[in-house]
């Protein structure tokens, strides 16, 4: 972790609940994230909602905290917004809890909170409650952020990982593996001179336009940890179906493909933070695809496969040779290999 570069650092006292805590909340959090609910500074945020609620939580740890295309602030906001969106909900309110390591540069904290605020603005959500704790040096790796969020699901929407049906088209919203490679390329020894940006983005707007286009969007999921391979396997298991994907139709950025060749990684298990996989009834697939392509975060949307009837839940890849191989649940962490 970088510290002592002239600017002020976070002290244990910033988390003590006293004057420094108040100062920090006022100068960093409220200033950046201000809205009528947060500004009341009550122990709980009070909001009025009516309907089917989606409610979720996610902890965010990432090294490095700043990476091309984003940082832990943007990531922690979009992560939770996307989990809400994948339930078909309109994301509305977010709570954020920060665990900060003693000595963390105040400038960096400001950058991270500001980035979180910008992402909230883009996603159309309000950060209505928060918490800050400071832990001793060495007890955290810079900063961890946990966000939770709620959203409203329209009465007509029933999205679920168990809703995929034989014949459904499988759509991805764009290139796969960008976030995973963006993070890996900043770790020690990779030294790529080309910047590969994370795709980190809030997908609420994209989902809204998909749901406007069709009432037959059955399943939505963002392929984060474990990548497309994990997500497809989860959906196959939840829906009790087979999913067949045409390997050559999966979109990749050429730099991501190159990095995977070089480091011996499988792009299908790399994390994405601004992509979704949708299962849509075949007859509405083109309509949904059209709506997605109108949207900035769905411009690269393509159909990659279809759902098939099966006794065993399975994910198959149709290879270049036309043969079918199983795409199984990823195991272990992705590490550069030479062999």
């Amino acid at each position: 972790m970088k510290t002592e570069r002239g600017g002020k650092n976070i002290l244990l006292a910033h988390g003590s609940g006293g004057r420094l805590t108040q100062e920090l909340i006022g100068s960093v959090f409220r200033r950046t994230l201000s809205n009528s609910i947060l500004d009341k500074m009550d122990d709980s945020a009070v909001v009025q909602l009516d309907g089917n609620l989606a409610f979720t939580i996610d902890s965010h740890v990432v090294s490095p905290l700043f990476f091309p295309g984003g940082d832990i602030g943007r990531l922690s906001l979009t992560g939770t917004v996307n989990d809400l969106a994948m339930a078909g909900a309109e994301p509305l309110y977010i709570c954020a809890a920060f665990v900060i390591e003693e000595g963390f540069p105040l400038d960096d904290l400001e950058r991270i909170v500001s980035s979180l605020g910008l992402a909230a603005g883009e996603a159309g959500v309000e950060v209505v409650a928060g918490d800050t704790k400071v832990v001793e040096r060495g007890a955290a790796d810079g900063m961890f952020i946990t966000t939770s969020g709620i959203g409203l699901i329209p009465a007509s929407v029933h999205i679920s990982a168990s809703a995929a049906r034989p014949g459904d088209a499988v759509i991805v919203s764009g290139t796969i593996g960008d976030h995973g490679i963006a993070i890996l390329s900043k770790r020690q020894g990779m030294d790529f001179q080309t910047e590969i940006k994370s795709d980190c983005a809030p997908l609420g707007g994209l989902v809204a336009s998909m749901l406007d286009a069709s009432r037959r969007v059955r399943t939505l999921r963002d392929p984060t940890r474990g990548g497309l391979a994990a997500t497809l396997n989860e959906i196959a298991a939840a829906s009790g179906v087979a999913i067949e994907v045409d390997e050559s139709s999966i979109p990749y950025r050429s730099e991501v493909r190159a990095a995977c060749e070089l480091l011996g990684l499988d792009p299908l298990v790399l994390a994405n933070e601004g992509k979704l996989v949708a299962f849509v009834a075949r007859r509405d697939a083109d309509k949904v695809l059209g709506a997605m392509r109108e949207h900035a975060y769905g411009a690269g949307a393509v159909i990659i496969g279809e759902v098939q009837e099966s006794e065993k839940p399975r994910v198959y890849l149709r290879t270049l040779l036309g043969s079918r191989r199983i795409l199984s649940m990823p195991t272990g962490e992705q590490l550069p290999r030479i062999c």
Binding site: Q193, A258, E261, L262, I338
Partner: protein, 79 residues
């Protein structure tokens, strides 16, 4: 047993080459391939250039494929 990827040398200084693979650049040592020069394609393994890629041979291999496939267009072209 050994991953090695074709890359193009775009710059070179003191046996450290900048190599490009599919729009991605990074550095690689040419200690094991002292004759490598800017413009060459090399195989990269564990941060080292280990072998020069022979364009003539590659084209010959592609030509053989083309012959077998009755002149069907190949993915990247043979020019």
């Amino acid at each position: 047993m050994c991953l090695a990827v074709p890359a193009k040398i775009t710059e070179m200084e003191n046996q450290i080459a900048t190599v490009q693979v599919g729009g991605l650049s990074r550095q690689a040592s040419t200690v094991l391939l002292p004759d490598a020069a800017v413009g060459d394609y090399v195989l990269i393994h564990a941060g080292f250039a280990i072998s020069l890629i022979d364009e003539e041979q590659a084209l010959e291999t592609i030509r053989l494929f083309d012959e077998m496939t009755g002149g069907m267009a190949s993915g990247g072209g043979g020019a």
